[in-house]
Amino acid sequence: MLTKRIIPCLDIKDGRVVKGVNFVGIRDAGDPVEAAVMYNEAGADELVLLDILASHEGRKTIFDVVSSVAEQVFIPFTVGGGISSLDTMKELLRLGADKISVNSPAVRDPSIISRAADKFGSQCVVVAMDVRRVEGTDDWSVFVNGGRVDTGMDAVRWAVRAAELGAGEILLTSMNTDGAQTGYDIPITRKIADAVPIPIIASGGAGKLRHFAEALTDGRADAALAASLFHDKVMTVRQVKEYLSQNNIPVRIL
């Protein structure tokens, strides 16, 4: 049976993992390669490497990180953060990334989705979207530039459009729940999962084991992503998967 996926996200700045990383037993707590190896051993199904600085200088370091991760971790991984050209995508894929995630650049120029899908295949193209509920309504709006700019675009319509353009997956982060650790944003996750024929990765809000189960059942997500929860060792990937397995949600157990 096809399993639900648990995906740790590494937020990377200047080649270092950031966000209160406190691993035990590894030399360099901020080394993304060591973190990736550890998550792989704990049973992560995929990894997301997010270049949160993504400045001109910062860009070179992410290439090195991708190359090193690809030499030591043999599960699929996605790279994202400020990627706006097919040349950059090609280079990251060549270095060993399996998928590229695009966020704001896809909103500014949606043709990047179809061009990337034509060139590399839909399975390589993840459209990441940051959304926030429009207060007092049942609608969510798409934000860009790290959540600073409200585009006014309807989240469900954008997801449908992205899928039509050839996106292979949607990485959906709710700004309402992100960082709150009170659970994923189930209503919008479900709305989008029901509206598009491609897999949805739920992101933002995981704080307890049951939150993962909720996103994968009520939210109808295909995968659930978390960053600080795993970085801060609040729980391990292994614990999440054991919990899901006990609750009859199909997961890959090592």
Binding site: T3, R5, N40, D45, F74, G96, G121, P197, P199
Partner: protein, 212 residues
């Protein structure tokens, strides 16, 4: 011992070579038929569409080297679309002939109207469990029901006498093929974690004559 990864301008060959090197193989990514023929074993990778990949492969001049290796009983492993190229034909973008090393057609998952596909997303992407033919040396030392990583929309339907592994997605399909020293996996061993690395270790051992 050297394993040649055939480069005919499709897909990410680096992932395959990095994984093989991680488990101790010497590899060469090559477009050169002589270099391919000189290797002890061959890997036929591939992503993308069947027709384009088949055309590129035929134009690459590598086909005789591959057929020669298969004829000589050298270990050969096709991965994902590389496995599909070993088949008789495919219906992706019209009917196109493959290398005919196995007598099966590649068809789209959704071509079987007896299955309700509305609840299943295509491509079949992610980790799925496979049922193994325990006699196949490629699967030596694996757990009974291993999970491997798939990304594909087309497949060989059903189980055949040469199916080395099968998988369920809507219906049963062939996840790996095997005849003599010719192997193919629909999944990606280079992205299937420790299970995938063990499969690659086995392929190396077969290539070195330590496993058969």
């Amino acid at each position: 011992m050297k394993i040649a990864i055939l480069d005919y301008d499709v897909g990410n060959l680096r992932s395959v070579s990095k994984a093989l090197e991680y488990v101790g193989a010497r590899t060469v990514i090559t477009k050169n038929p002589d270099e391919a023929s000189a290797a002890d074993a061959l890997i036929l990778p591939g992503v993308g569409a069947f027709r384009d990949a088949c055309e590129s492969f035929r134009q690459s001049g590598l086909e005789p080297a591959l057929r020669c290796a298969v004829g000589a009983g050298k270990p050969v492993l096709g991965i994902c679309l590389g496995m599909q190229l070993l088949m008789k034909d495919s219906t992706e973008h019209g009917l196109h002939e493959g290398l005919c090393l196995f007598p099966a057609s590649i068809t789209r998952f959704t071509e079987n109207s007896a299955v309700d596909w509305s609840a299943l997303k295509i491509p079949h992407m992610g980790w799925n469990s496979i049922k193994l033919n325990p006699k196949c040396p490629l699967f030596n030392g694996l757990p009974d029901v291993p999970f491997v990583y798939f990304v594909h929309s087309f497949c060989v339907k059903g189980a055949h006498e040469w199916s080395a592994a099968t998988c369920e997605y809507g219906e049963e399909f062939t996840a790996a093929v095997w005849r003599g020293n010719l192997f193919g996996t629909q999944f990606h061993p280079e992205k299937s974690g420790e299970v995938g690395l063990q499969i690659l270790r086995n392929f190396i051992a077969i290539s070195e004559g330590r496993l058969c």
